[in-house]
Amino acid sequence: MDIDTAADATTNGASHFTLDADTFRKIHPAEYNRRFISQGVRADGRPLQRFRKANVNVGSITTANGSSMVRLGNTTVICGIKAEVTEPTPEAPRAGFLVPNLDLPALCSPQFRPGPPGELAQTISEYINQICTSTNLLNLDDLCIASGQAVWVLHADILCLNYEGNALDAALAALIAALWNVRLPKSTYDELEGTVRAAATNTIPLVLNRLPLAATFGVFDAQHLIADPTDQEEPLLSSQLAIVVDQEDNLCGILKEGSAMDRERMVECIGLARNRAQALRRLIDEALAKADAS
């Protein structure tokens, strides 16, 4: 590394400079990671194509109709779903609404500033929304209370508590787990008052048509494929690829960005994504089972 001589004069012979690992990582992040990855491991010790340990639990937020907390390594998101009553549109008098939104608040990482959602949060929210609608995740007509009068709107708010990369995988998993955990009160529409009355205890679960889950990959230096990139790795990637798979191994979405990738590599990733999605699905199953038991 070049220490500028002209500048060095200003330190007028002050304590000499030692380049330890942390300093090196801070000054030359790309080079730092390159040295690991070229050895077939990552800065956090993972093999290139190993996903981080995931952890799911559901139902901890009692003010929400359904909730979940998902951890991918240290990336932590909470999803809370609140069901409220609203008017349907004239075009679709029986259809309810599912409104997923990811929030990456300033709380969860120094790279985010306070204020309205930035590009990353907006685009992930939008992509998750597209997955929900284009795969018809749930029949919106199931959310009908009284045709043309009242339907449920499910506000699914996904909040990131600690951001260490790969928000999409975590957010989608959290959404699916939370939706699965949702209980809607049995409700009746009162013609005269135009109000909806909900039962206090008698609740029904949602029917999910499929369980799409995402697996994100990155390519480092246009050659090394790594799975589940961290926030340290994300800015250094030459390209990114997210693959969404459901329980029957159907593909439910692919989002590829960055420098060119050939067909073989994409196919390779689809295989890896299937295994990841399966593993996540198992974790969600267990979490739901645990919740029902208690």
Partner: protein, 257 residues
């Protein structure tokens, strides 16, 4: 405008009317969770839950769940005081944290809470030691159960997070709340109890310096009762302080291992 930055749903939606079962009468000595009037809910505290932050803490008491992250000292914008650091507190309810869904935009209540947290903490934080820099305190309410209790928990949580961040403080501020229900002082009331109270009190306190940094009482209450309330809250703060100390010590312990 903010809507353009989110996936938009229907413009307005309401909660359904829920037929609730019969309310059992309130008993100050045996509350519905079995507490007596002078007891706070059991308290769970943990630091370092937000790895990205310089300091962080999580607090859970009853249904109440609060997370707080501290960033800083950061370089301030040029225009700030040169001799003193800046403390910036931001208090936000998660959309799903309350019975009625919360809006994304900060409402006045949240603004007020942000200010109160600042007022409660600022006296303890040694801003004179960090000139030209800012400490950002972000508080996220995950689940709320009782307004005063929620605010008190937020302050305690923020104090923990500041300590975890290694920001120098003259004392670790603890906060507690009480409600006045039919001539009784009821510590740490939850949401249901708040509906019964005719007044409430929230106290932020520096236990070892024995100084109150912030106090807010609402409602029509006799002076004697207020004094009783004060004493109860101050005691509660001291109890909370011991839990804080344990949690902070614990954070160092597993820091070693």
């Amino acid at each position: 405008m903010a809507d353009r930055k989110r996936v938009v749903g229907p413009e307005k939606s309401v909660l359904p009317l829920v037929e609730s079962g019969p309310q059992q009468p309130f008993n100050p000595d045996r509350r519905k969770d079995g507490r007596s009037g002078d007891r706070i809910r059991p308290l769970f505290l943990k630091t370092g839950i937000i790895k990205q932050a310089d300091g962080s803490a999580y607090i859970e008491t009853g249904r109440l769940k609060v997370a707080c992250g501290v960033y800083g000292p950061r370089q301030s914008a040029r225009n700030k005081l040169p001799t003193q650091g800046t403390l910036n507190c931001d208090f936000k309810f998660s959309a799903f944290s309350s019975a009625k869904r919360r809006a994304y935009a900060k409402d006045n209540h949240e603004r007020e809470c942000s200010l109160i947290v600042y007022q409660a903490l600022a006296p303890a934080v040694r801003l004179d030691l960090i000139p030209k820099s800012t400490v950002d305190v972000y508080i996220q309410i995950l689940e709320s159960d009782g307004n005063a209790a929620c605010l008190a928990a937020a302050i305690t949580c923020a104090a923990m997070a500041l300590a975890d961040a290694g920001i120098e403080m003259t004392d670790a501020v603890a906060a507690s709340s009480a409600g006045y229900i039919g001539g009784n002082v009821v510590l740490d009331p939850d949401g249901d109890e708040e509906t019964l109270q005719n007044g409430s009190l929230m106290v932020s306190y520096m236990p070892s310096l024995n100084e109150v940094t912030h106090m807010m009482q609402i409602g029509e209450v006799t002076t004697n009762l207020t004094v009783k309330g004060m004493e109860a809250c101050v005691d509660a703060c001291s109890q909370i302080r011991t839990v804080m100390q344990q949690a902070l010590a614990a954070s160092l312990a597993d820091g070693n291992s």
